[in-house]
Point group: C2
Chain length 208, copies 2
């Protein structure tokens, strides 16, 4: 190991950054060269430091993790980014992987898992747990919501009635019902309340 692996840490929680820095500080072959606390800062600092590896939380202010990953990889297609997340089963994980993330870690991981992932991804390989890979495949095959259906679903979660959704989106209530029908069947649920909770559970929409 001649050269240290240069790492950027992106997380809005000071403590988590501190933890990652502390953890990485104990390792001989890597070091943290930059820290960002939101998505825009992450993009800016990436340009400046060009880290070998970026550890990125998905829930961020200003610009979320997926957007940040997208922007970074537009400019630097070779960027190696590992997603860090608190929540298992979050839809955003899949979006992040599609946006070009090369690894995925839960915050509950231990030090070995972290360093493994960093070294693996730095070596040019991917580090995605089998379970996630499976679900990613499933998801690809599975039905995905259209843009309009997402609009409606978000408002269902927001507690809006069909009539309100109709006027929100400038469409008729009949159309709203049509969309809801396909949402329910695509999500495999029976009513709007189930749609709301499974959408939250799968991370398709967030409460923020």
């Amino acid at each position: 190991m001649d050269e240290l692996i240069q790492i950027m840490v992106v997380d809005d929680h000071h403590i988590v950054r501190q933890g990652l820095v502390a953890l990485i500080g104990t390792l001989p072959d890597m070091k943290v060269v930059a820290q960002a606390s939101d998505g825009s800062e992450a993009v800016d600092l990436y340009r400046v430091h060009r880290p070998d590896i970026t550890l990125m939380d998905l829930r961020l202010p200003k610009q979320n993790g997926v957007e940040a990953i997208t922007h970074i990889r537009e400019e630097f297609p070779s960027a190696r980014i590992i997603v860090l997340t608190t929540f298992d089963g979050d839809e955003d994980i899949y979006r992040a992987l599609q946006a070009g993330a090369k690894g995925y870690l839960l915050k509950g991981m231990n030090a070995d898992e972290l360093t493994d992932a960093i070294r693996t991804v730095h070596g040019g390989k991917s580090r995605i747990p089998a379970v996630v890979a499976e679900r990613l495949a499933e998801r690809m095959g599975g039905p995905s919501l259209t843009g309009r259906e997402l609009d409606v679903l978000k408002r269902i979660v927001g507690g809006r009635s069909n009539k309100e959704i109709a006027s929100d989106l400038f469409i008729s209530e009949a159309t709203v019902k049509t969309h809801i029908n396909s949402i329910l069947s695509k999500l495999g649920v029976n009513d709007r309340t189930q749609a709301a909770t499974t959408a939250l559970q799968r991370g398709i929409v967030h409460l923020d």
Copy 2:
């Protein structure tokens, strides 16, 4: 400062513990004497180490934070516990404060806020943000759900219909409707979907 403030850190995320330890390690007047990753371990380690201050996450495996706080303060009424949480507006915060927590911090805090809180609580005072104190007062005054209403609300969040809830709880559908009526008015919402999402938002129930 003759004696170091002895601190126990309780969090299931290794990284967060590491971050807290690292942060506290830079301070001259305090040190971490124990770390626990779940509620039961926290209770056990409290008995052994009797820390001056306990920093406790609320979402924990085995025994959640509120339970752990309750148990610790049953045995050691003078225990000084500061709640650490990721989520603002979580109902559990209020439960934790009622269970005897003396302070409350979001994980997004900075180092100064943390040390402030630790020193304040160690000095025997409380450290609860004005906003939270207000809402705590509101909550006390505000209507609270009865046990049965909670049973029903949980099932609403679970996506069950009135009929299903009735058979779940061995009561008639009419009774379910009665409960739902008071749930809706107590939560100040118009329908079950709103009830579900605001219950989740306020942390009255969780998806887990």
